[in-house]
């Protein structure tokens, strides 16, 4: 098998909780706690989970916008976590990010031309004439027109701004795009346009996506493989078909059964989980889901389940499947 484009090993991020005048560290919020996965070239990996599960923190650590506490990120054969800041800056040419809020991620005082030119200036790509040409080219690619270049962000609608955000990410010809909730601020009809655009671009430019979102329908639509996170850990990771048709982890089952389906005749298999997500500062012992799990056993309270393959390409962290694992 060829080496995956991105390999993440044992990634952790602990945020200190400080208190008192001296700012002593009392405890840690374990936002991401030992997450490992790989992303192959040309595929889309979806990461889903509820708020506070660490999906955005994971995305930011991949680009080292947040420094990981522990763990390795290996991109294209290079260990990103070992690079210096200036070396990292060069790598960011190949990894770009698209953010959730198209209102907050574009500078309101800059024209679209300036916003799109910025990445080229930073990475010193091409001469001014070529840069300008590229701006116009990418505006057309994302479905806008070259006359939009002279306008300011407030003159665009939410969907158009997200197109600009995508164009900006594409300017440096990246290999990997990390999209953090790129469509959740958009209306349904606009969301469909942006999702289609992202799929078209992926085909045309051979992009690899990491698509972070909370909407399970959107994630199924766009992803080849999907990872489900819960309280800073990966609960299940599989091909999107397998994950949605045959979810193994009780949390995935509950999550899928909670999504409202736009069909009044749909009869769901109900897996109800009680209560709220516990605090990541003080996660439950053993399996982190045991406080809400309908299939809890004694072992779940004491032992952390291992995240490993149960079937080919289908990994899960749950004691229920301990025996069915290939030895």
């Amino acid at each position: 098998m060829t080496e995956p484009l991105l390999r993440v090993e044992g990634l952790k991020k602990y945020f200190p909780i400080k208190s008192g005048i001296l700012g002593q560290v009392k405890n840690h919020v374990k936002a991401v706690d030992d997450v490992s996965f790989t992303v192959n070239e040309g595929e889309t990996l979806g990461i889903v989970g509820e708020s506070g599960c660490g999906k955005s923190t994971t995305g930011r650590m991949l680009m080292r916008l947040l420094e990981p506490t522990e763990g390795k990120v290996i991109f294209d054969g290079q260990e990103l976590t070992a690079l210096s800041t200036s070396e990292m800056r060069k790598v960011r040419r190949d990894i770009q990010m698209v953010f959730q809020d198209p209102y907050a991620s574009l500078n309101p005082r800059h024209t679209i031309e300036k916003i799109l030119m910025e990445p080229l200036n930073v990475h010193n790509l091409g001469d001014p004439k070529e840069r300008k040409k590229k701006v116009y080219e990418f505006l057309e690619i994302v479905g806008l027109s070259s006359y939009h270049a002279k306008r300011y962000p407030h003159q665009f609608s939410g969907g158009q701004r997200q197109r600009i955000g995508i164009a900006r990410a594409l300017m440096t010809n990246p290999k990997l795009i990390i999209a953090d909730e790129p469509v959740s601020a958009l209306d349904v009809s606009i969301q469909a346009q942006v999702l289609n655009l992202m799929q078209d671009l992926q085909k045309e430019l051979k992009l690899t996506y990491i698509f972070i979102a909370h909407d399970l329908g959107v994630v199924r639509h766009i992803s080849d493989r999907v990872g489900v996170m819960y309280l800073g850990q990966m609960a299940e990771l599989a091909d999107s078909e397998a994950l949605y048709e045959k979810p193994l982890h009780p949390y995935t089952q509950a999550l899928l059964s909670a999504v409202p389906v736009p069909d009044p005749d749909f009869l769901r298999e109900e897996v109800v989980i009680k209560g709220d997500v516990p605090s990541p500062a003080n996660p439950p012992s053993g399996c982190r889901f045991h406080t809400r799990c309908p299939f809890k056993m004694d072992i779940c309270e004491t032992t952390v389940p291992i995240f490993a393959e149960v079937e080919k390409g289908h990994s899960v962290a749950c004691h229920l499947y301990e025996e069915s694992r290939p030895q």
Binding site: E50, S189, I190, A192, N196, L216, S240, L255, V261, D276
Partner: protein
């Protein structure tokens, strides 16, 4: 089921905002009604006027710049648009209550949950004793499924999770047995597993207490699961109205159809999503013709110049589209026969 009494009747409501650019109608001549004990959904994208509709019913449209310029809102034979602020205050919370999207901003962070629940009862039930008020508050907290109600009364909003806060808001809204509960995006800020719990609770309370619910949302899945009847809004107008089953199984208006097709369904993978071209128009920009004409694949010359009415296609199903105008249908049949 159809004999249930109409409890809230909105007729020809027009709510406008007066800005430097002139009058902008956010809600333009809409009619709808809610029957006793019914769950009615209003769906639409941002800027379609669904929230302004609910604020108009509650008399909470910020004025200035907003104003109800036309129409009436009949509740128990009283026209709410004609009432004074004082009279309106007696109805708000008592007969019609509302819950909002973000439970954190609707609760005062400086007061305990108990203080805020008791205050709500005190305002409407002036002759109740302290003990009665306290008991009522605890009773409601238990009804909405909050654990250890007595203990929670002493806690502050920040100590509760989002789902619990929304339960407190629902408890507060139901304290005085309202006849109508308006829920404006009640689960949008919540995670799916919590959303499922809250929707179940709203439905359950609707059945047990027979409170009519007006559920405003942008999520078609939420509508399909909780509502009996649906109103689809677009750019300040009602474009389609009907029972939930007909809206989802036999949508008529091209906008409703497009909307349903553009939702990614979790149950199966579509190769490509259908997308409605263009953007939602800014309120007040389209003054003549059908507001959806510019994005509609079936639009013809009449759509651009004339404003379509709501055409009744079935007893309980109405659509604002010329394709369902009996005259057009006849004309169409004739051309089909000729060719």
């Amino acid at each position: 089921m159809e004999n249930r009494k109409t409890i809230l009747d909105v007729k020809g409501l027009k709510t406008s905002f007066f800005t430097d650019d002139g009058e902008i109608p956010a809600v333009d001549n809409i009619d709808f009604h809610i029957r006793e004990g019914e769950v009615l959904g209003i769906v639409g994208e941002s800027g379609c006027g669904k929230s302004v509709t609910s604020l108009s019913v509650m008399g909470l449209v910020p004025s200035p710049p907003g104003k109800i310029t036309e129409g009436e809102i009949l509740f128990q034979d009283k026209d709410l648009t004609k009432l004074s602020e004082k009279q309106m205050r007696a109805i708000r919370g008592n007969d019609i209550a509302m819950i909002f999207q973000e439970p954190m901003t609707s609760l005062n962070p400086l007061f305990t949950i108990g203080d805020q629940l008791r205050e709500a009862v005190k305002i409407h039930k002036k002759d109740w004793s302290k003990k009665q008020i306290q008991e009522r508050a605890i009773e409601m907290m238990k009804l909405v499924g909050l654990p250890r109600a007595e203990g929670l009364m002493k806690e502050y909003p920040h100590q509760l999770s989002g789902g619990m806060r929304q339960r407190v808001m629902i408890a507060m809204a139901l304290l005085c047995d309202p006849k109508v509960l308006i829920a404006d995006e009640p689960t949008t800020a919540l995670d799916v597993t919590i959303q499922a719990q809250i929707l179940k609770l709203i439905k359950n309370l609707n059945e047990r207490l027979n409170t009519a619910v007006l559920l405003i949302t942008h999520d078609l899945g939420v509508v399909a699961e909780t509502c009996e009847r649906v109103i689809v809004m677009y750019a300040g107008k009602v474009v389609e109205e009907g029972p939930v089953h007909k809206i989802f199984k036999d949508p008529q208006h091209p906008y409703t159809r497009g909307l349903l097709e553009s939702v990614p369904d979790m149950r199966f993978k579509k190769e490509r999503l259908y997308s409605i071209p263009g953007n939602v128009p800014k309120p007040g920009t389209i003054r003549t013709g059908c507001r959806f004409a510019a994005r509609c694949e079936f639009a013809f010359d009449r759509c651009i110049v004339e404003n379509p009415d709501l055409y009744r296609t079935e007893e309980d199903h109405q659509t604002r589209c010329f394709l369902f105008d009996p005259k057009e249908v006849q004309a169409h049949d004739r051309t089909v026969v000729k060719s």
